[in-house]
Structures are given as C-alpha cells and as structure tokens.
Symmetry: C2
Subunit: 322 residues, 2 copies
C-alpha cells in the first residue's frame, strides 16, 4: 500500500511551467515521511472494499494538503530544516513558500474531488471543515506561545485541532469513499482522533524520556527551545501560579544568554528534567497516552466490520519507541 502511495506521488504530472511554482511542490513531496495520512485513508477504505487504488488520488490529495500545511507552518515558525532537508522558504524564499503552498492546497482539492466514488461530496465537505479547524489549531498554537496561562485542557484542544483532526478526516474520508455506513464513518473519525492525541503526547514524551538510540534524534530539543509541550502543562498544572511562572521563565531562558542562568545545554536539560521528575510528569503522560489508546480502541467494536488491520497499523506506529 505504501509503495502504491509513493508511486502515485512520484507519478504526479505537474505542468512544465512556471518552474518556480511546481519545482518546490515536487521537492517537498519527495521528502518522504511515514505517509501516515494516506495510509490511514487507504487502510480505512480497505476495511470495506478491495479496490483501494480507486481511492489513491484522494490519499495523495490528503498528503498534498498535509505538505501544504508544513510549507506554510515552516515559514511561520522560521524553521530551516525538515526531515533532514532544507525547508522550501529556506531553499527558495518566503514568497515561493507562500505561493507554491497555496497551489498545493488547490491541488489537494483537485485530487480529492477527482475520485468521484462513494460519498465523495461528503468527503469534500469534511475536508474543508477539517482544514478550517486545522487553521484554528495553528492560530491557537501561535497564541499559546505568548500566553503563560494556558491550561492542560486548552493545550489538548489545540493539538486536537492542529494534528488529530487531519487523522480523523483522512480515516473517515477512506470510509466515506468506500460508502461505509454513517455510524462506521463517525466511529473511525473518533478512533483516529484519539490515536492522534496519543501520537502527539508520545512525541512530547519521547523528546524528554525517549531512548536516543531508538528515537533517532537528540533528547531535550523541546526543552532547549522552550516549547510548551504536554510535559510542561502536566507539571505547571500541579504548581502554584508563582511556581508556574518561575518555571516557565526558566524554560524560556536560552542557553548562554546574558542572564547567565544556563551556560550549557546539559545544564538546562537536567534542570528542567528535575522538575519533570519531581512532578511525576513521565508517568502522568504515559497514563494519558494509555487512556487515549483505550478510548480509541473502544470505538472499534461499534464498527460493522473487523478493524484489525487499521488497529494494527495505528498501534504499530505508537509502539515505535519500544
């Protein structure tokens, strides 16, 4: 299935001109990644029908859309690298990232609406509404970076909008294109939404507590850049307002700045990790991941079909650290 997706992405036929518009699109889509969203779409479709190639263009459309958000988010976050390669605005410029990014959103619509199978109107409406929610999530993410009074619940709602909604959308879209019963479509949305929350919390967890040898990247990246992950919210939720303010102040202090608070990266990481240990943040986070895991799994008995392939695929990704 993954090979089909990669081949379909490779085979996308862009116009020859203008080169400056289509080259960055080809570049970012060739950057790999797990193709999680198209995989969810096709796996959900396959629960109901065998001919998943018919849904392939929608799957590629969802991946195109996801990459559109990456290109625009990277401009907004001033991120220079992604998946080990230069970001579009870094390799070209901001204007290219904006305009090629806009084109990718339109190409996503073109691809998603081109299947013409099952309840594709409804799939398109779902896509539009989901993409609007994802913009809202991105806006909350921006707002929350400046706001020191964000609660754990608000953080969860932000990541739900920013990342889970698209997993729900992709999975439900597969079911809609396969003309699955309406109740199944809704249960699959909830399943993927909960899985998405578990994924995001796991990302937050692994940054601090993962095994660098397995995880494949340096530990403490979020701590060094002062990112307010679930771990931060799990800690501050147990503090007095004054304690929380002091902690957030420390978290946002860069290594080697004029305050002299942290002179090395190791110093900052171990100082923040000590706080996480004091507040049992690792356990709290693992409990929450397990709870979303269970909630997701609880949706599956409602289905009219056996969802084992979807469950196994989703959970194989969740267990990547073990």
């Amino acid at each position: 299935m993954l090979k089909h997706i990669e081949a379909a992405i490779e085979a996308l036929n862009y116009p020859q001109r203008p080169k400056g518009l289509y080259e960055p699109i080809r570049y970012i889509l060739a950057g790999g990644g797990k193709r999680l969203r198209p995989m969810l779409l096709l796996t959900a479709y396959s629960l109901y029908r065998e001919d998943y190639v018919r849904a392939l263009s929608a799957a590629v459309g969802i991946e195109m859309y996801h990459n559109h958000t990456l290109v625009h988010d990277d401009v907004m976050d001033r991120a220079d690298m992604r998946r080990g390669r230069e970001t579009v605005h870094q390799k070209w410029d901001d204007n290219t990232a904006i305009l090629s990014g806009d084109t990718m959103l339109l190409l996503a619509y073109k691809l998603i609406s081109s299947t013409g199978i099952g309840r594709w109107h409804e799939a398109l409406r779902l896509f539009t509404n989901s993409a609007i929610e994802i913009c809202e999530g991105q806006q909350y993410d921006v707002d929350f970076e400046k706001d020191t009074h964000v609660t754990e619940a608000e953080y969860i709602e932000m990541i739900r909008l920013k990342t889970s909604v698209l997993l729900g959308c992709a999975t439900k879209m597969g079911a809609l294109l396969a003309d699955a019963p309406a109740d199944d479509c809704d249960a699959l949305y909830s399943f993927a939404e909960k899985v998405g929350l578990a994924f995001q919390l796991q990302d937050d967890y692994l940054d601090a507590f993962g095994d660098p040898a397995v995880f494949g990247k340096k530990i403490g990246g979020d701590i060094l850049c002062g990112k307010k992950t679930f771990l931060v919210h799990a800690a501050t939720a147990q503090m007095t307002p004054e304690e929380a303010q002091t902690f957030l102040q420390k978290l946002s202090t860069p290594v080697g700045d004029s305050s002299g608070l942290y002179s090395t990266e190791t110093e900052k990481i171990s100082d923040i990790m000590a706080v996480y240990t004091r507040y049992n943040v690792a356990e709290r986070c693992q409990q929450r991941i397990a709870a979303y895991f269970d909630e997701a799994e609880g949706e599956l008995p409602r289905l009219s079909v056996d969802a084992t392939p979807l469950r196994d695929y989703a959970f194989s990704l969740l267990n990547r650290n073990k």
Copy 2:
C-alpha cells in the same frame, strides 16, 4: 444586487475564536471595492433565473477567494496600503496574513459548495482549476519582474492568468449554477475573460494617460515604481534590443538614487512619458482595449438568452474614465 452582496458579506457568521484568525478576515472583506466578481456571477445567473439570492453564497465565496489572493499577494509584494487602508500583514503581521489568508481560501470553498444548485460540482471543479491558473499567473508576474526579455504576448498571457481567469470563472459559475446550456457557459467565460484583459490594459493606460481628477489617484505611480505594464511592452516591442535595455534600465532607476538620473518624480515621469509618446503607446494601448472589447462583444450573439444586462454592467465599468 450590490446591496444584497454587501449585506451577505456583512452577515457572514465567523466563529468567536480564535480572534486572531477571524478578525483580519472580517477586516479585509469590509474594505469595500467594486465587488466586481460577485456582481458578474449574479448578473450571469440572472440571465437564466430570477432567484439570484440562491447563488449569493457562491458570489460571496468568489469575493472571499479574491480577497484571499489580495492578502497573500500583498505579503509577497510588500504592499502596505490597499483601498486606502493598511494591508493585513501591515496591520497585524506576515504570519497572520498567511494563516488568515489560507483560512479565506477554505471559507471560499465552503461558501461556493454550499449552494447545491444547478451544476455546482462543475462550478467547483472550474473554481479549483481557475485558482491554480491564478497561482501560475502570480508566479509569472514575479518571474517577469526579474526578466528583461518578456514579450508583449507573454505579458498578455500573464495578466490573463492573473486577473482575467477569475472574471471568466465567476461569470461562468453564475451560468453553471443557473443550469445554463454548456455552450452559453463557455461563451460567457470567453466574454468575461476578454473584458478582463480590456480592464487590465485600461488600468495600465490610466496610470499614465488618465485624468487625475476622474481617475482618483496620482498619475505615474506605475512609472515611479518601475512596473512593467502593457505600455512598457508596447514601447519595447518597437525598439532594438539595445534601446529596450537602456529604456528598461531607466524605468527601473528610482528617483533620487545614487546614479543621479532622476532627482524629482516629475523628471522621471516626463522622461518615460516622452518615450511613450515617441512610440505611440497610448494609441496602441487604446486599439488593443477596443479589440478585446469587440472580441468580448462578439461572444454574446452565441448565447441562447439576451445578455444586455451583463454587457451593460461590464461596459459601464470599462467607461469609468470617460
């Protein structure tokens, strides 16, 4: 009809939160303008059916889309003012303009697909393809600013993509939603596309040859910022490559720069205008406008209905300088 459009824009119901996402959208849409695209859509619809309120949300969707392009183009062009008000990225920041702009494109899809009347699927497909062409036009516009070998024909193709395609799309969409015959839909597209070319050339013409009292803005703005309008192409088309290069060099020289070429705005404007006079650029431009005018009008006898209201509306806008 215009009142209906303004009322529908005013009545758009945005979510309360996140404020940072929806406030800029409300702001830019309240900025007025002729509402040319929704007017074309509803006028075309009205040639076939009386109940144009049913197409109103698509008309507002087209205006939403148009404003999406303005918000993103203003970031790319670093434009600080539009219609006498600060641009979105100027009043807020670039990130807001990118994200609120993305949301506007999604809201446009939502509005356009919500009518559910006539051949709305086809209207949606037309919209997607047109919006992709408009991105291509914007890319050519960016490319051409750096390229000194652009021909008149390439310039016309660029403005066709960048501006005419959307007028064609809006007009044809009105006919599709009214379930007009396919031949009518195509003729209306061609009509509006030609009218769009005439509009754009007229804009270029008025900047140099308009009556400031009627035109409402300063003459020579395009000359001062070195913009390569149709007038420039009409002049260089008659020059040797060396003459053209010298002229383009002069055109791109800012007033008061270290070269000392132009010390006042009047000096630069009259120097460039002298070239326009020498090459009969005003006449050449007027001839071309009249030719597009005629071509547009030539489409109308193909229609199965009397298109007088559409013709009168489009031509009333063309005659605004007289």
